[in-house]
Symmetry: C2
DNA sequence: TATAAAAATAAGTGATTACTCACTTTTTAT
DNA sequence: ATAAAAAGTGAGTAATCACTTATTTTTATA
């Protein structure tokens, strides 16, 4: 957990147009992720973030004009990362260089998103919590994710539908169904984390459920 | 929307051991639901709740010792309502007097929960938002919902599995899969509310997805 | 109508909030 | 080595927070 957070943080550093972050700045970010995830944006006090980062409160406002800026600087690059696998065709040939079978596609998608969720639980929690209260966040999320990802996914799904591999439903409907199933798997596994969770079995059941649910033989 | 909120409020009044609520008290509750849903618990100021209820701020604290009490008085009876259809056998013969077919069961469950969600969107939003930050809420929710509802559902699912109507998976796994699909339908319909949403078509696709997904003919 | 109880109020309370600013320390460039 | 720039500090700001209390208004009962 700590490793993946650190890794994410470092990736965030590099994003900042070559400008390296200072040690204190990265500690502020780390503490902010922690406190935002624990108490939510409104419940998180900048004083506590400063304290946990081992930094004077004024230092926060030297780097981030407002508390909201701090939130955005955490969430915004994450949203970008969220879309990445759907737009970087050479890194992830998931969409544009598709698997021959729908099953292979689903399995790859599942693996890909599970790995991503594993690395970003805390930021995902923050995003889910705060999107309802920040119209700008919601707008950015919807415009980027909805417009870009949904279009890419629609194309892929349409491709398998045309081949007769899956049932004849609107692509958006199928994306909702598969997305729900995938999302439910992730929520139950990472947020509820039930005892006695047999992951290989659950994952296989999930894949089979999707495949049969969208099988063209009605 | 306003009708259902009023109806829910009246049901809440009757719950209070015969003690009728004053007019101002119910207006406080109504305003609190509104503001909590809009800004979240931490972001909601008691001053704004009072203002929107057309009431002095002190009046809130005459009826509710703390702000947290106000939140609980809204959410607690809702959690009870959430479980009701699974424990009141005579009102909802959904579980204990089951449908002969799994398909009938799923359709009834879907209709039942959609109607419930339709009537309680705002309180559902509050519950989803605040459960992560209030251990007592989470504990009550998990102990009541998880223990009572999951047991009932497991029995029902086990019944259909024994009859060979559905695939041979652990009941909890199947509940997760069906629950995810149902939840995804509700979220997309009520929270995203996409334009051009053909509800009968979406609902039928959802039912078919579940039925084929759990069909025993693998 | 008289009176006691309950409900409601308005003006506070100290604590905490996000944020500022004058100042010191550290880093960088020449 | 030195000066300019950047980073960091912590005391202080007004505003807002949840909550209290003394007082007034409303309601119920006789």
């Amino acid at each position: 957990m700590k490793d993946s957070l650190e890794q994410w943080l470092e990736e965030l550093l590099e994003k900042h147009e070559g400008e390296r972050m200072t040690d204190k700045q990265s500690r502020i970010l780390r503490a902010a992720v922690e406190v935002f995830a624990e108490k939510g944006y409104s419940g998180a006090a900048t004083s506590e973030i400063a304290q946990r980062a081992g930094v004077a409160e004024g230092t926060i406002f030297r780097h981030y004009r407002t508390k909201k800026d701090l939130l955005y600087s955490i969430v915004a690059p994450f949203v970008a990362k969220l879309i990445e696998p759907f737009v970087l065709r050479d890194l992830y040939p998931l969409i544009d260089n598709p698997h021959p079978t729908f099953e292979g596609f689903i399995r790859a998608l599942l693996d890909n998103r599970i790995a991503f969720a594993e690395k970003n639980i805390k930021v995902i929690k923050i995003l889910l919590q705060e999107v309802p209260f920040h119209p700008e966040l919601r707008e950015q999320f919807l415009s980027k994710v909805a417009e870009r990802v949904l279009v890419k996914l629609s194309n892929a799904v349409y491709h398998y539908r045309k081949q007769g591999q899956i049932v004849d439903l609107p692509p958006l409907t199928m994306i909702r169904l598969v997305g729900s199933t995938l999302f439910g798997y992730l929520i139950v596994r990472f947020l509820f984390a039930p005892s006695g969770w047999d992951d290989t079995q659950e994952r296989e059941a999930t894949v089979q459920y999707i495949l049969h649910g969208l099988n063209r033989k009605n």
